[in-house]
């Protein structure tokens, strides 16, 4: 597929310890399912801080500065299956340019984040969502309103963008940790479920090829 050329080469290590290009549509060299979860939202809504909080304590992201993104790699188990999760976070490039399409490539779930203390970041969700949907028409998407510790009132509100698009909303705080683990655990679970039963034609073809 020509689109693959634009993909950022993220590396995996095979049984011999050699670096091989990681393809999120396949299993890793160690036989784990691998999923890619992307975070989207305005600058300074706390996307990186949420990931930090989820992975806890001194976890160092891989800074891919020439690609302007931060990659958080994490291994876990979902329903007794070993899963490698790459959480992709923008590194500020969205302040200058629109996201490169390779950011969306092969993503299996998306977390949209806005800030409970800044209305503008909620208004911009529809732009982020529309752009993501251009590339990934049917991947599961969930939404988080961050910084509820600074604005508890927000937890009593419902948000039209989420209800209209049927997107589950999580009230979270990267600062005190409220709902952060649940947010990512659900995102990962949805990503794995999507991977096993993809809706996009392109993904279905990949799945069929893999099972051949």
């Amino acid at each position: 597929m020509s689109e693959d050329k634009s993909a950022i080469p993220i590396h995996d290590t095979d049984a011999q310890g050699e670096k091989v290009e990681l393809d999120y549509d396949k299993k890793t060299a160690q036989g784990e399912i691998c999923v890619k979860v992307i975070c989207l939202g305005d600058s300074a809504v706390g996307k990186s801080k949420l990931v930090d909080r989820y992975l806890i304590d001194g976890y160092k992201p891989q800074q891919l500065s020439t690609y302007a993104l931060s990659l958080f790699r994490h291994r876990t188990t979902v329903n007794d299956e070993k899963v490698l999760i790459d959480i992709w976070d923008t590194a500020g490039q969205e302040r200058f340019q629109s996201m490169h399409r390779s950011y969306y490539h092969q993503a299996q779930a998306c977390i949209l984040v806005f800030d409970a203390t800044r209305k503008k970041t909620y208004k911009n969700l529809s732009n982020w969502y529309a752009e993501m949907r251009k590339f990934r028409p049917s991947i599961p998407c969930i939404c988080a309103v961050n910084k509820i510790d600074e604005n508890m009132e927000v937890t009593t509100k419902s948000f039209a963008f989420c209800t209209q698009n049927n997107i589950p909303l999580y009230y979270v705080s990267a600062c005190d940790g409220t709902n952060v683990v649940k947010l990512f655990a659900d995102a990962v679970e949805k990503a794995v479920a999507y991977k096993k039963d993809p809706v996009d034609i392109e993904d279905q073809i990949m799945e069929e090829l893999e099972n051949m």
Binding site: A7, A68, Q93, Q97
Partner: protein, 131 residues
């Protein structure tokens, strides 16, 4: 018009002043004075605009709260119409983001004993396409 022998000093002084204004949110609107109302062209991450009003609109639409430019190298050349070509290589840091490299090119055009920015091209140094 002849080559301006002061090209190096002017180019460097301009660069310093430009980023000092840019990095201070209170003074950033003053950048408008460095552009011409019609005869300034900007290409910002591939997006083209003309005239100081449109250029300032772009600059003020950027969403960071804080920005700091750190200049690595400034190269200047005099142009044969008395202007100055300036190429800037540097890094910038916005809010809590990791630093990013950027490159910016200016053409300074002489007018009324001073200069204005006739051309301005800005790019982040990001290689999204695998080599």
């Amino acid at each position: 018009m002849a080559l301006n022998p002061q090209y190096e000093a002017i180019g460097k002084a301009f660069t310093q002043q430009y980023y000092a204004l840019f990095d201070d949110a209170a003074q950033r609107p003053q950048l408008v004075a460095l552009y011409n109302a019609e005869q300034s062209l900007m290409t910002f991450e591939g997006q083209q605009m003309q005239g100081s009003a449109k250029i300032m609109e772009k600059i003020s639409s950027l969403t960071f709260q804080k920005i700091a430019h750190l200049i690595t190298a400034v190269d200047c050349q005099p142009t044969f119409d008395g202007g100055i070509l300036v190429n800037v290589l540097g890094q910038l840091k916005t809010d809590e983001d990791p630093p990013q490299s950027f490159t910016q090119v200016f053409v300074l055009k002489p007018a009324n004993d001073s200069f204005f920015i006739q051309h301005d091209m800005f790019r982040l140094v990001i290689h999204n396409v695998a080599a």
